[in-house]
Symmetry: C2
Subunit: 200 residues, 2 copies
């Protein structure tokens, strides 16, 4: 499941099959889900790709599914598909972060293009998230004391001042500082600042 794919969630088997065939001819991998519930149950945060989500379905609606995904921190771009949408619904969905909102009947090529854009978009997100992930993983290896020292380093303070504020000796600060650089895999305070400021 490391392969990016378009998750097609629709309770109409004929549509699922038609979309599967469509995407197959265009070289886009798909995975089919007969209901929002089924998808939510299987959903994993690290799945790459995008979601093509029908709004009107038996059981949980596409909008409810979207909300549930939001609550779980879903990052996959969601493309809504509906035959009975309206402007307020589309606006609300997009403002909540949906990737697109398209009405049936749609042009096949348009949908494929959208899905490809969404998958590419997800790729970028995923890359950025991975970068953040590695930095956070390194942060996680720091001890509490090391993090305290790091914070003060990031305020541009001298070891001397840090030693004062933490009421420890300068030598100790140096030791922590050295370990911080080591664990964060940077060679200077400047690199550290850039790495962490990039996280926002």
């Amino acid at each position: 499941m490391t392969q990016a794919c378009a998750h097609i969630i629709d309770d109409d088997e004929a549509i699922r099959d038609a979309l599967q065939w469509l995407f197959k001819t265009r070289g886009v991998a798909t995975r089919l889900w007969p209901s929002a519930e089924a998808f939510l149950e299987a959903w994993q945060a690290d799945w790459p790709g995008c979601i093509v989500l029908d709004i009107r379905m038996d059981g949980m609606s596409g909008l409810e599914c979207f909300e549930a995904l939001l609550a779980r921190g879903n990052r996959l771009p969601v493309i809504f598909v509906t035959g009975h949408g309206d402007v307020p619904m589309a606006v609300a969905a997009l403002k909540k972060g949906a990737y697109h909102f398209i009405e049936k009947p749609f042009n096949d090529n348009d949908l494929v293009d959208l899905v490809e854009q969404a998958i590419a978009h997800d790729d970028e997100n995923r890359q950025a998230a991975a970068d953040r992930g590695t930095v956070e993983a390194r942060l996680a290896t720091l001890t509490a004391r090391e993090r305290e020292v790091m914070d003060l380093i990031l305020e541009g303070k001298f070891n001397k001042v840090i030693a004062d504020e933490l009421a420890i000796s300068m030598r100790t600060v140096e030791a922590h500082r050295s370990r911080v650089f080591d664990k964060m895999k940077v060679r200077s305070a400047v690199e550290l600042a850039q790495m962490l400021t990039a996280l926002r």
Copy 2:
């Protein structure tokens, strides 16, 4: 014109007046424009507030006006209002960066709420832009050589290495470095890195 206001662009005088009255009762300053052309002619990049833009108008349409504003780097949130919109139009507008898309007839309170949110949103944007502006203004005071040195500092290099790469003496690098810190109003390379990384 330093006061944030809602720019109402509509070719129907009755609607303009009605909206002006509505916003006045809710304490939102407004400015009325009878056409997209009139607004575009007067438009200034530093106006704060938001835009309420009717789509169907004689002459230039709201959508065309929006495109023109995009091309000019407009930052004001745009709220589209229309009686004849459809889903694709709304989706396209939002994906291009419009703030909202609302259909007539609309609930007065909804529109006022939207406008207030948009103005608040613009305030935040403007604050962030101002921060970027001050940093960029400082950057602009740097000489070419100082910027070169700064770039190398931001790569975490020692003065010695920088001197080598630029084929100048270490003392010269120190002089530039000192002036860079001075002009950028920072006291350490760490602060500099944070200030510039925050710009993205």
